[in-house]
């Protein structure tokens, strides 16, 4: 038995560590740790509920917009506005979340995960006319190689032609990421941390030229998703075929409804349908009151698992049995994975929308797999790309429904006391915000992020979290930081700052406990 520690795991959001016990080249046990803690919700106590929409975006600068969306959903519900948001407000929120989610997926596949599958240092011999590749070639010829080198051993599998193509898309993705954020900023005000998402709607006023500008900016993004991103993910799934089997995880999926639709009845009430998926392809409805958070191996004071609306957390940095700042959300006491895999499969199985069914079926037949292969490293990448594709097909339609000159928000006139819950599909999966207000000020705030589900440590029953389950049984090469581990972890698109933030607003005395 030997122990492998990888810390930091780079090319993710935040501070994450993996510790794996390896025997005969196979992982026998794994502990995932979130190693940074801020305690964001403490700051929310006593604040105006509307401020939560701004402050919770600062939980994460990679995916702030879903926090804004979940938070504003909770505040709207508390303020009695959730059914009164003008169509323009709902549509702009969808467009901001949708466009930024696409850009986030592109960021994840190319900039964050890309170097696990394609080698930029291999374009030294390139002889074509692609400007970006020639710039990279010149960079390498001058003797530069950082931040691409040095690196641990990676078994790159693409041939020269595919390598050149995908490296060129890696560089192009940096431009597309910026352009997608610029498009969404027309409605959001700025990236990151949108300013215009406010309780009651969106503060941005609409004119025809701004709507048209958005649609034109979107064109390039949609083109990139369809003609570069989706094909490149399929190329990875084909070249790295073993990754259609590797990293299965807990094989239970959870997703929330997301993206309210306005008039397209054929698509149901939301674009993505939430629910649970068990036994590979069995769909059932979700009841969020069965969600609890367990802190057995997290650095918080021990107690029975509680519903997030009731949760009271006390940080305890020195806790002997703890190994992570991430808590363990569970549904019915069981481990669930969230993310685009869950969102796409839950919609595929629960909604019966032929358009989504065909898209998934076609992609599966192209990579030569079936639904069970989606529970894998390559499957997660594929569902992320399909999720971007579903959004790319929808956004122009939503933009065309916007009505210039008509209201974008209703006035905020809240009661003194109340509660609200906001749920949405963040780029990394199911995100929930739970809000309580007393005398017009926040009295309690809880967030359960996608990465809290996925990166959760073991719970009171000893059940490992989804990352941990995906690692146990994995065969790894002799290396200080085996690429197999990193590919599995990155396939979930970790967002650790999101995962570690949760502290209720009452009675926390961090610093009271002696640290070892």
């Amino acid at each position: 038995m030997k122990k492998i520690v990888i810390h930091p795991i780079t090319r993710i959001e935040g501070h994450l560590k993996v510790e794996a016990t390896v025997d005969n080249g196979e992982i026998k046990d794994a502990n995932i740790s979130g190693t940074m803690f801020r305690g964001i919700e403490i700051m929310l106590e006593g604040r105006d509920p509307r401020d939560a929409v701004m402050i919770t975006q600062r939980i994460c600068g990679v995916c702030p917009e879903p926090h804004a969306m979940a938070s504003v959903g909770a505040v709207d519900q508390y303020a009695g506005l959730d059914s009164k948001i003008p169509p323009n407000g709902t549509l702009m929120r969808n467009l901001i979340l949708g466009t930024r989610s696409i850009s986030d997926h592109i960021l994840h596949f190319y900039i964050l995960s890309g170097l696990d599958y394609v080698d930029p240092a291999a374009v030294m011999k390139y002889s074509g006319s692609d400007q970006d590749l020639n710039i990279l070639k010149y960079f390498l010829q001058q003797g530069y190689s950082r931040p691409f080198l040095p690196r641990d051993e990676i078994d790159y599998k693409f041939d020269t032609e595919t390598t050149n193509a995908v490296v060129s898309h890696y560089i192009k993705a940096m431009d597309i990421y910026r352009k997608a954020q610029q498009a969404a900023t027309i409605f959001g005000g700025k990236w990151p941390h949108d300013a215009s998402i406010v309780s009651g709607g969106v503060s941005q006023q609409l004119t025809v030229d701004r709507i048209t500008e958005f649609i034109w900016r979107l064109e390039q993004i949609v083109d990139f998703v369809k003609n570069y991103y989706v094909p490149d993910v399929i190329a990875v799934a084909k070249a790295y075929k073993e990754y259609l089997e590797i990293g299965k995880g807990c094989r239970r999926l959870l997703a929330y409804d997301s993206y309210k639709t306005i008039s397209d009845e054929s698509r149901g009430d939301t674009l993505f349908k939430g629910g649970l998926v068990n036994d590979i392809d069995t769909y059932s409805e979700i009841d969020i009151s069965r969600i609890t958070e367990d802190v057995t191996h997290s650095w918080y004071k021990d107690k029975e698992p509680l519903y997030p609306g009731e949760e009271k957390t006390e940080p305890m940095a020195g806790k002997e049995s703890g190994y992570s700042w991430v808590k363990s959300p569970r549904y019915d006491g069981k481990v669930y994975e969230v993310g685009p895999l869950a969102g796409v499969l839950s919609t595929y199985l629960g909604k019966g929308d032929p358009y989504i069914k065909n898209m998934v079926d076609n992609a599966l037949s192209e990579i030569g797999g079936n639904i069970s292969n989606l529970y894998s490293v390559a499957g997660r990448h594929l569902c992320r790309a399909l999720s971007a594709n579903i959004l790319a097909d929808q956004l122009v339609g939503w933009a065309q429904q916007l009505k210039a000159g008509e209201p974008t928000a209703v006035e905020y006139d809240p009661p003194a006391d109340g509660e609200g819950i906001g749920l949405c599909a963040a780029p990394r999966g199911a995100l929930g915000h739970w809000l309580k207000v007393k005398d017009g000020r926040i009295s309690n705030y809880q967030v359960i992020t996608p990465t809290a589900w996925n990166a959760s440590p073991k719970d009171k029953d000893g059940q490992p979290g989804p990352y941990e389950q995906a690692l146990i049984g994995l065969k790894v090469r002799e290396s200080q930081s085996p690429i197999e581990i990193l590919r599995v972890i990155r396939s979930f698109d970790p967002c650790t700052a999101c995962a570690v933030h949760m502290v209720t607003v009452k009675g926390n005395l961090i610093g009271k406990y002696k640290v070892v």
């Binding site: 930091p8 501070h15 801020r38 900039i111 950082r146 641990d152 498009a183 215009s196 406010v198 700052a497």
Partner: protein, 296 residues
């Protein structure tokens, strides 16, 4: 740009209690684009060489820590820090990495790397002033880079580039100034912010300024008028957002009908009041045709 190999400027970027928003903002730099920054001269004759950046480098784990260790020995790098530095409980609230069984906290990394840097850039309001991470009641004892410099007697030149997030131009524009004019000639204000970008109040250049002067104030979001009554912190916030705008000039906070939250200020987010409530210490011109502004 040119064919002669230019001077490489080693850059190390470490991250404390951050949200990675400083990095995603930086990634969206337009001129130069991020691909230009990574692969080409940032200004003729100078090439930034990213030795260590957690979000873009290939290496992880032990090797990543080794890269950092070697760079620290070689000295002479520009150190960019984003995120605050927790000091409570010996800095245990942010452990950045581990090598040969030893864990490194953000506090240790800062104290290890900052003294031998050519210059340190505190990127974003958390690194520059504590920001969100140090928000009341500051559960983890989060401090700014400047605070750590004081407590650990570090004398390296320090430049603050606050903003939540900072505009990419503020970072790369400052680096361009450093390289072309010389570090000592980058003019800073009392909070060590470059005057080129933080020299004027939002209010001084705001397109809604005329509304303010004539006392036409929006009463609810979406109304025409100055957003002062709705909580705009523009009158007390130093940044060039109104002129520079954001994300390739597609929009900016006040342009989207939302009040400025004062994110480049040392007082952000606690001492400026609620985001959607009026600041109270600014003289408001009296407009006789309108009711007097009520103080809370």
């Amino acid at each position: 740009m040119n064919n002669r190999k230019s001077t490489a400027v080693p850059v190390i970027n470490i991250q404390g209690q951050n949200c990675t928003g400083c990095a995603t903002s930086t990634l969206c730099t337009q001129y130069p684009a991020i691909k230009n920054v990574l692969l080409q001269d940032i200004v003729p004759g100078f090439k930034l060489d990213f030795i260590f950046h957690p979000n873009i480098m290939t290496a992880s784990g032990n090797l990543a820590m080794e890269i950092l260790e070697n760079a620290a020995k070689e000295k002479g790098y520009v150190l960019i820090i984003d995120g605050a530095i927790p000091t409570g409980d010996n800095g245990i609230y942010c452990v950045t990495g581990e090598k040969d069984g030893k864990k490194y906290t953000m506090l240790e990394e800062t104290v290890r790397l900052a003294p031998d840097a050519l210059a340190v850039i505190a990127l974003g309001t958390c690194a520059a002033f504590g920001g969100i991470a140090a928000g009341n009641p500051n559960p983890t004892g989060a401090q700014s880079v400047g605070d750590i410099f004081l407590t650990h007697d570090i004398k390296t030149p320090l430049i603050n580039i606050p903003g939540c997030p900072p505009h990419p131009d503020w970072l790369f524009g400052t680096i361009e100034e450093m390289l072309t004019k010389g570090l000592g000639n980058v003019e800073l204000d009392d909070f060590r912010r470059p005057k080129t970008f933080y020299g004027k109040l939002i209010h001084e250049n705001c397109p809604n300024r005329a509304y303010f002067d004539e006392g036409k104030f929006a009463k609810k979001l979406g109304d025409e008028g100055c957003l002062y009554e709705l909580g705009c912190k523009g009158p007390i916030t130093y940044a060039d957002c109104p002129k520079r705008q954001w994300n390739g000039r597609t929009n900016w906070v006040i342009g989207s009908g939302a009040p400025c939250s004062g994110c480049t200020s040392p007082e952000y987010p606690d001492l400026l009041g609620d985001f959607y409530h009026r600041i109270i210490d600014v003289e408001v011109p009296v407009n006789e045709k309108r009711p007097k502004v009520q103080k809370k």
